[in-house]
Amino acid sequence: MLKINYKEKINVNLLIYLAIIIVSSAILIYLDMNKFQYNYAISIIEKSLVYAVVALSMNIVTGFTGLFSLGQAGFMALGAYTTAILTIPVASRANVYYMNGILPVLENAVLPIPIALIIGGIVAAIFAALIGIPVLRLKSDYLAIATLGFSEIIRAVIASPMMDKITNGSYGLKSIPGFNSSLECFIYSLICIVIMILIINSSTGRDFKAIREDEIAARAVGIDLFKTKELSFVVSSFFTGVGGGLLAMFMRSIDSKTFQITLTYDILLIVVLGGIGSITGSIIGAFFVTAGKELLRFFDEPFAVAGVDIPLFRPGFRMVIFSILLMIVVLFFRKGLLGGNELTIRHLKKFRRKKNLDVAGGAV
């Protein structure tokens, strides 16, 4: 998708994606104009978009480079806190840092949102670069646990009393300016997603894939393993950081608890459900998971059939159903919804045929 075709042929998919973007924008503009009526839908869409950015950034490193990293929450925290600190209106700052005050240099440091988001990404990228030097030597599960560890360390530092005057320690940040409209969120996310897609389909992206396939062979064709891994990790973390900034804007108030390991698991879930190594998979997965959780809300509400309350329907039931659905998807779509493929016209046509063939045979 969005692959620049070096031949003359016009890429049909490219046109279709453009059309989707235009139609989506139109829908969002309509929703924005009737904001009060559709605020719930808008908030679901915004959250899905933010998660799509983060999921895709995780996919770069995990799905396309084959480095199993579980540091997402930590890098999101860095991006979120940076963005928040740089965008909370000066007037609200005393109020936000009510307990311990704010560092004098930060008192008046306010930047426009896009710049704050980029700086958030850069901060995350710098940390990734530093962490990457020792950690990227590790393999598979060991890399996963080490990055997870760094994520927790970042969180602990953010919440620590030493950082009170910067991150407001345990008290979190609020009054973060939100999105003015869902279109704004869409534009930020879209820019991130398009750039990530361009990277994945570039020659750099091919190097990433080569490493995923076989590290030793990659080195044998002249790919500098460490540099390329580091590059992938840093790029991924940059967008994770931006995604964290977007999440802060979506939530309007953040604290360190938001960025626990479960957040990483949620993102991983999206990536795997969508299909590891599938761009469209990550995006669809983000909507599937986010909207899924919300659409199931009625399971939490009392439900009566013919006037008789069904006792199963009470708070908590929704998440039970969600977990079961999740398991079903995992068990029946082993490679995720898209299984490493991209959703293209050709793919849709082939889908039925392929499913039929999959039934027979296979190892025990």
Partner: protein, 256 residues
Amino acid sequence: MTENVLKLVDMGIRFGGLNALDGLNLSVNKGEIVAIIGPNGAGKTTAFNCITGIYTPTSGMIEYLGKSIVGEEPSQITKKGIARTFQNIRLFKELSVFENVLIAMHLRYNDNIFTSTFRLNINKEKEMREETKRLLDSQDLYKYRNDIAGSLPYGIQRRLEIARALATRPTLLLLDEPAAGMNPQETMDLTSYIKEIRDKFGLTILLIEHHMDLVMDISERIYVIDFGKLIAEGSAKEVQNNPRVIEAYLGVDGDA
């Protein structure tokens, strides 16, 4: 004509208590096809791994075109012109045949993430793709270009691996058991194929092989190693009749 391409001087490497290679001396001249043979576990593959930088030898020297390459990164060594294939085929299995070769072109078209992401390298990319097409064409692989490498028949995978190595434009090509798992007929085809690419690309070739027909047929010189040490060296004839080689490697009627 006798320009030296590769020279190993007293090269040794240890794994824990094991002396996998022990004072190995070997040299390859430009345009030659040289074979390394020896029993299983003799250290042949290990020698390749040392030359290509995957292992760093614990002692000795490796000279390539007169300069030491010990301690350099594998990718660096490849850039200098040494390419290789692997004993157990190592293709980018999930990628297409075209991509497999295209990736090997990267090292000659320096791109950074910025130019490649924003497609500022569009001309280079075009050129690379053209060149890939030409290479695949010349190796009779173009018809497989969109196939996923891992799904190809074994023999084709071997050829693809060689094509990928050629894409780096090597001076010296190392082939590790290229005929393993091939039947005698396929092995014969491979023999002429290796000669062909040597001439066409002006290569120097160093290969490891257990198929004696192939080895005897194409190699100008043969090194025999056992327990990490050189036990014999010379032409096919000389080696074939060397009692030590017969005892350690070929067996009594060594034409198996």
